[in-house]
Symmetry: C2
Subunit: 686 residues, 2 copies
């Protein structure tokens, strides 16, 4: 005992005793030290980026959780107020509507006053940024506060406004990643690099999705599908790492806060596992997918048209330009009045929160069969054990309320997307799809009350499975993604419907992709952001189109031997940002590019070192005007597909075309777009 005490004292007191303790085996000591050194090196070599990714994931999870927590408190206060205010209809109506109106107008006013970029989801803009366009200040960290505060208010307005969280979270995550990246490069004193930054942004988008849904797989895949057209496996791995850190932290926090026992999925379902669906039902699942595809086309068309209408209509656009909070308040008032529970809201299950909407729609019982003989009462307060009572009405039955819900939410959602507040549009679409699926599932359960008999065993139909497939198919069709199927499984924690859901999503996507641009592409088009379309035609003939056929031949080149008057004339008569610099007027051999501003500055400076007589551009360049080298050039024989791939992969804006070293043209997004559209709509033969 004394020895032990002595030892402990020795070890904590002076290092001499420790050294003595280990003294006898120097080889072991050296070995251990070497091993630790090696481990340290290994960890730090892989390190750097991994720490960054982990920080990003954990930070986003903290923000997401804190936001959920705050929103929960606000919503609870609203519920309490509504419950306690008494039976007067006027007071109840006021308490129901004033809350969201105030929150939404504050959200709109506050966020718009700080930054004009805070409205909407942000995904369309990010898509543009990731394709190589520079949108100034869009990723500035100063937008962060506005977006967070605005989004919290939007979400606190709850199911009345019916908006989600994904889009702004992706934007927030990308903002933080850009900020952390800048801090990192400043700290270690290295210059910034664009391709490294882009890598980070792609990963950050995945983290954004993953920390909202606690779904790392679909987070990564969804952000890939939405954001980019090409993806490197390296980014995908890093995305998984960061998304897993985020999702784990997000769920861990709710365990620590005693909200749940252990880490589970967000919208846990309890579908029958042994025979979840019968073989013939596959047909109905695919049909449901097709219906979702058609409805999504209608939705996308109406949404885009209405967004265009709002932009062009004189009254509304003036209102939006001068007083955004007023427009927001008016729209919120309309939405809140319709959802007032004792009024029309009775048929919209409007007392349910968005989470409860999903929970109830994914219920594994068939409401149609349960209400065939007995009708449950409409409880005065929401019954948390039987959320689905909200969907039942004695006269309308559940079919009436579900159909009414779909019809009303269709235009209410479109109206809500025009409000200039930070908000996501994925979750409402997901719930809408679940509604479509539930309606069809209930109809099937009623049509085949004994279930579909296959192989001698009867299995009742589970409308919840159809709700799951509908949610995945509709949200997949609207966003043109397939990973929503995986998201549905990760959210519910059950994968028993794997094949039918995937088939529904594929059917919905086939219809939506061939008829309408996706929700995000549609917004890009309406907002007139630059974008590069896909080559949809995969015909062999499209591979024969070469750069020569569509390049811009009318390029302005500056020759090194051009007299300064000529240079000044070119600079004043055109407004390009960059000019191609060629060796001489005669040879036209491409040397590099030179910036317009540099030229203008150099022209104004007029240093005295010029050759007497006829000063030419060469003297100007010798005077310190920077020539940027051309790192990549196309040939007239490069194919359209190759050029398109290059632009997409390397995030390019324009490339020079050279033939035998001579600059003969240039290709930019404009030319590519024209070439691609003439592939699908070939010009009429003359």
């Amino acid at each position: 005992m004394e020895e032990l005490v002595g030892l402990r004292e020795g070890s904590s007191g002076s290092p001499v005793s420790l050294r003595e303790l280990w003294g006898p085996c120097p080889r072991v000591r050296r070995g251990i030290r070497g091993g630790l050194e090696w481990l340290k090196q290994k960890v730090f070599r892989v390190g750097e980026d991994w720490y960054f990714l982990m920080t990003l994931g954990v930070l986003m999870a903290l923000i997401s959780y804190t936001m959920n927590f705050a929103i929960g408190r606000v919503v609870r206060a609203h519920k309490w107020l509504y419950r306690e205010i008494g039976d007067s209809h006027l007071l109840r109506y006021l308490s129901w509507t004033v809350y969201p109106v105030a929150l939404v107008s504050f959200s709109s006013g506050f966020s718009q006053s700080i930054t004009p970029f805070s409205g909407g989801s942000g995904i369309p803009e990010l898509k543009t940024i990731l394709s190589g366009v520079v949108l100034e200040d869009y990723l500035d960290i100063k937008n962060f506060g506005a977006k967070v505060a605005g989004l919290t208010c939007t979400l606190a307005a709850g199911s009345t406004i019916f908006l989600g969280k994904v889009g702004p979270f992706v934007h927030l995550s990308v903002m933080i990643a850009a900020y952390l990246g800048r801090v990192h490069t400043k700290a270690i004193g290295e210059s910034e690099n664009k391709s490294k930054q882009n890598e980070m942004l792609v990963v950050a988008a995945a983290v954004g999705v993953a920390t909202v849904f606690a779904a790392p797989f679909s987070g990564v895949l969804f952000s890939i599908e939405v954001m980019s057209s090409h993806f490197s496996v390296w980014d995908y791995w890093r995305g998984f790492f960061a998304a897993t850190c985020g999702a784990f932290m997000f769920r861990l926090l709710s365990v620590f806060n005693s909200e749940q026992e252990t880490i589970t999925s967000l919208y846990k379902t309890s579908f029958r596992v042994d025979v979840p669906f019968d073989l013939p039902e596959i047909f109905f699942f695919v049909a449901l997918g097709a219906i979702c595809g058609i409805v999504s086309c209608a939705y996308l068309f109406c949404q885009r048209t209405f967004l265009g209408f709002v932009k062009t209509n004189r009254v509304i656009s003036k209102l939006l330009a001068t007083s955004k909070p007023l427009y927001s308040a008016l729209a919120a008032l309309v939405l809140a009045s319709i959802t007032y529970p004792p009024g029309v809201g009775r048929f919209l299950a409007s007392r349910l929160s968005m989470k409860q909407h999903l929970d109830s729609l994914f219920d594994n019982h068939s409401w149609a069969l349960m209400t065939q003989n007995s009708s449950p009462p409409w409880p005065k307060e929401l019954d948390p054990q039987n959320l689905w009572f909200e969907w039942y009405h004695p006269q309308f039955t559940i079919f009436g309320t579900l159909a009414f819900f779909l019809v009303m939410k269709f235009w209410m959602l479109i109206l809500a997307t025009t409000i200039p507040i930070p908000a996501g549009y994925f979750m409402p679409i997901f719930i809408f799809g679940a509604g479509i699926g539930r309606l069809i599932g209930e109809a099937l359960a009623l049509a085949f009350p004994e279930g579909i008999v296959a192989g001698g065993v009867t299995n009742p139909i589970m409308p919840g499975g159809y709700a799951l497939a509908g949610a995945a198919a509709f949200s997949g069709a609207v966003t043109h993604t397939i990973s929503t199927a995986l998201l549905a499984f990760e959210l519910t924690g059950q994968i028993v419907h794997a094949l039918p859901v995937l088939m529904a999503v594929l059917a919905a996507n086939a219809i939506a992709q061939s008829c309408q641009p996706s929700f995000y592409d549609g917004t890009i088009i309406v907002k007139k952001l630059p974008y590069l379309p896909w080559i949809r035609s995969r015909k062999i003939s499209s591979h024969r189109v070469i750069v020569e056929h569509f390049m811009n031949c009318a390029i302005t080149t500056l020759a090194k031997d051009a007299p300064l008057e000529e240079v000044a004339r070119v600079v004043t008569s055109t407004d390009l940002a960059k000019y191609f610099l060629v060796e001489s007027t005669e040879s036209q051999i491409l040397v590099g590019t030179v910036g317009r501003e540099d030229l203008v500055q150099a022209l104004r400076a007029e240093p005295p070192s010029w050759t007497p007589g006829h000063p030419c551009l060469r003297d100007l360049l010798a005077g310190g005007c920077l020539i940027e080298p051309v790192t990549l050039q196309l040939s007239p024989e490069t194919s359209l597909h190759q050029a398109h791939n290059l632009f997409q992969l390397l995030k390019l804006q324009s490339l020079p075309v050279t033939s035998l070293g001579r600059a003969v043209g240039s290709v930019s997004w404009v030319e590519l777009k024209k070439a691609i559209s003439s592939l699908t709509n070939p010009p009429a033969p003359k």
Copy 2:
């Protein structure tokens, strides 16, 4: 009634009555006809490729199912023979060993006699092909029969040889895709296009994985991760479509054959759903992942070393060169003798088939707790209800058998991979990982017999969950993929362990990727196939390396004005396949490339139309020698990252480097490899 009959007769009889019937509403008629026309156009526009993909999926599913069916019959016959042959040990031993030895030697002899490409999994070769290298005849359809017959025999040898199906199936699928593509282009009379072919091959690889495991999600992701470094979202969608068709058809066939009630997953588990694991267990899951990572490094190292040893050892390589079936038979005899059930096989659970291995390892009970007080008997015949009895031994307990299983299978698997037969190596690795997980899970269950208490509720530990995580982590580490986590969920039909499994896989991958090349890369290295390494260093400094630093400056150019003697001298003194053609010896401006064979032919022909006096290369070219245009060229200022990206994305072999139009160098895989390796191991300062 009569009217109806009349109508029906009319409608089926003559078209006149139909026209009369619709006569009154020509607008509706026109509308319907227009609509149908539109639909037809839409379907056919999207069409073409989709039909192709569907055919591919369905074909592969049919092949996979038929193969499984045949294998099942052969295995059943073997079991019957072994059971009925009597109690004589010699006879039983012979019946146990002769079967696999005969099958494996036939598989080896038959497939190798038809084509030398049929051995192994084929994934390393496909990886090389997809990166742009042409391996002659590797995708020829004539290899198909050899591969199918060989693989059937290999798999029929069962758990004795312990090999899988994935790799060869990917190869088969790609073969069929290449064949269908050729038939298609021939049928419609279009010329073949390389980039379109590549698209098809990527999709086909996904179909191969999906039809083996009936897992479309992980099929697509696994093939992307294994095959390529960049992928386009377009390919990923097409992959999903084809993989879903394949997986659906594959499962549909087993429903039609009354093997199961409805479409379910292959290795269904029944883990506890409400609290599948406690929070503190996450730590053990990550630790399990780390252990799997370390074991995988050991496995990869030993496997590569042994493969190298087999190639270099005089005796074995001579045996393999002269008599492959003999080597195969010898190896099979060793493996079969060890797994003889009354002998050592008693401790290896060798009576279980590979499917039963997985089913038993994923069992949701804890064997350690169940055998603590009572010991189950070793049944004379396999008990299909209690497969896990096979893992129990009264003296050794389950820990002894599991540990023995792992130690023996470690080297048996390495031995099996050297047998030159068509075989997949993924499934055995997956089972091996499940064994590691089970061992650790059982140890934990014994260490914490009351479960881990969290939040006042006790939850017993499920070793099956660890087996799942171990399988995903070990197979992920060996193949350097993350999608094995998803595969584990799709195979078992449960996703409750989503986060812990993903974290285990990430931990295993972090260790394996930083220490060893993947299984497939290792095989590529040992087989000396060409490959382009990744840029693992993501340091900012790596972005500053430009083409000028590493390009090959010693290029051979042919000037148009070079005299023919000079051309002949160059052609005979060098053995390049292509020469850079420049405008003149003085200007060195790059015009294009010209093939060596063309040149040789033209030089031999010596047409009479040459200019008298000094005939030069220009005359030769005018005589019909083809100049290939340069579609893409690098500049000396292009960065290494950009060049690497270009090579990977566009599947290039080499590119010319030009400066001011002059050919100054070239970059090929060789230069890139050198530059990449000098990034990680910078040359010592002089």
